[in-house]
């Protein structure tokens, strides 16, 4: 999967945010706040070719069931796809 928009991950105190850079600012005039697991998924996303592969990484790292990992990853990927931030193919 590919991150389409230029976004920089920043850690501010205990918060993790995505800051849009370049033309992404026009489309997303604001910040995205990520949970710890969303941050994990964001960092692993470019290494994965499918939602299932990304969900497997979440399952390997965190104490969640396979079903929960897949559901959470699916939601994360869907949200970012809808915002046109990532290309899931």
């Amino acid at each position: 999967m590919k991150i389409k928009k230029d976004m920089i991950l920043r850690k501010i105190g205990s918060d993790i945010i995505l800051v849009p850079v370049g033309n992404a600012i026009k489309d997303h005039n604001g910040l995205f706040m990520l949970t710890e697991t969303a941050c994990f998924l964001w960092e692993k996303l470019p290494e994965c070719n499918s939602v299932e592969e990304l969900a497997q990484k979440l399952f390997d790292e965190y104490e969640v069931t396979e079903e929960q990992a897949l559901a959470d990853t699916m939601e994360f990927v869907n949200n970012l796809s809808e915002l046109d931030i990532i290309d899931r193919n």
């Binding site: 920089i8 920043r10 501010i12 105190g13 918060d15 945010i17 800051v19 850079v21 370049g22 033309n23 600012i25 026009k26 005039n29 604001g30 910040l31 706040m33």
Partner: protein, 355 residues
């Protein structure tokens, strides 16, 4: 139109205040300006060069980023006047800051391509009048047509814009026209009739409104630009005299979650305060920030203000106390008179509206 701060911005600043993180900062890139406005608190005509190089600013930015700065305001003087503005801006934009720019708007055109490729989060354009002759009178530069054309171009490019409208006796006659421009272009406007004494330049207060005039005119401007019901509701809320702060410490973000670095590299809680000073170029950003935070925490506003029944509607702040009286702990009579007049006008307006 007025400007409302996004919730996420507020959340991060509130967190910054609680944890002492400098979430937002201002880089005053230059004191130079191609305008010569009487009420300006920064512009210094004598300066021909800028004390800090692009390298200095980028080094400070890197350190600020490491300390947690997200929001960066580039201001001046006129920041777009720097020959190396593009170099500084490009590097900052790629570092992961959300950048806003304060400008008089007259030089935007030369950066049209740059702002298209790396758009700022917002450009705040100071609007002084509604035609070239008003600009000539107030700023010594007939730049209005150029400013308006650049503003329209930026809007077409999809860049978020805001007008800062600073009113003085010299341009108050323009307020309706300026409000109309804001409405017509759908660009929020932040009007002010209060001018800080330009203490940084050692100038006097000549040329600003009396406190009563400042209150009368800001009320007139708000009445004109806001929907009638919205304006009346706003006044009614004011007349309820909401409860004010319970402590006389600094209550804004200055020196708590925000810093300002002057054109000569001095860190301050805000640009309107002549002290406390931090020296980030000498001691490093983090140490200077810790000093500013610690000194800001010691500032006490006047005890009398805490006991005042108008404290919940009064806009008094540490910078105003210092600028008006020379002392953080002294009551600025100008602000007291302005607040009382605001309430008098509000009472009259609500009463007239109900009868």
């Amino acid at each position: 139109m007025s400007y409302a701060e996004p919730l996420m911005v507020k959340y991060l600043h509130d967190k910054g205040v609680r944890q002492g993180i400098p979430v937002s900062g201002t880089f005053e890139l230059t004191q130079r300006c191609n305008f010569n406005c009487e009420m300006c608190y920064v512009h210094d005509c004598r300066q021909k060069t800028d004390p800090l190089s692009a390298k200095d600013w980028l080094s400070l930015a890197k350190q600020a980023k490491d300390a947690g700065t997200v929001f960066l305001l580039l201001t001046g003087g006129e920041p777009l006047l720097r020959d190396d503005f593009e170099e500084i801006y490009t590097a900052l934009a790629k570092m992961g800051f959300l950048i806003s720019i304060n400008t008089n708007g007259s030089l935007i055109e030369r950066y049209s391509k740059l702002f298209d490729e790396l758009p700022p989060t917002r450009i705040n354009v100071s609007l002084y009048g509604a035609d070239n002759s008003a600009y000539k009178r107030l700023c010594g530069n007939e730049a209005f047509d150029k400013v308006l054309s650049s503003v329209k171009q930026m809007k077409l490019q999809g860049i978020s814009m805001k007008f800062n409208a600073i009113f003085t006796p010299e341009n108050i006659s323009e307020y309706k026209k300026i409000a109309d421009i804001s409405k017509e272009l759908c660009i929020p406007m932040m009007p002010t009739t209060y001018s800080y004494p330009p203490i940084r330049l050692g100038k006097g207060n000549d040329g600003r409104f009396s406190p009563e005039e400042a209150a009368d005119y800001i009320s007139l401007i708000d009445e004109y630009r806001f929907d009638k019901d919205f304006y009346q509701e706003k006044l009614k809320k004011l007349l309820l005299l909401p409860k004010g702060p319970e402590e006389n410490t600094v209550r804004c973000r200055a020196g708590r979650a925000a810093f300002w670095i002057t054109a000569d590299g001095i860190m301050r809680p805000c640009g309107m305060m002549p002290e406390p000073d931090g020296r980030p170029l000498e001691v490093g950003f983090e140490k200077a920030w810790q000093q500013i935070k610690s000194e800001t925490a010691k500032i006490r506003l006047p005890e009398e203000c805490l006991a005042c029944k108008y404290s919940g509607v009064c806009s008094v702040c540490a910078a105003m106390c210092k600028a008006e009286t020379g002392d953080f702990g002294k009551v600025p009579q100008y602000i007291c008179r302005m607040t009382k007049q605001l309430l008098t006008v509000a009472e009259r307006s609500v009463c007239d509206n109900e009868n």
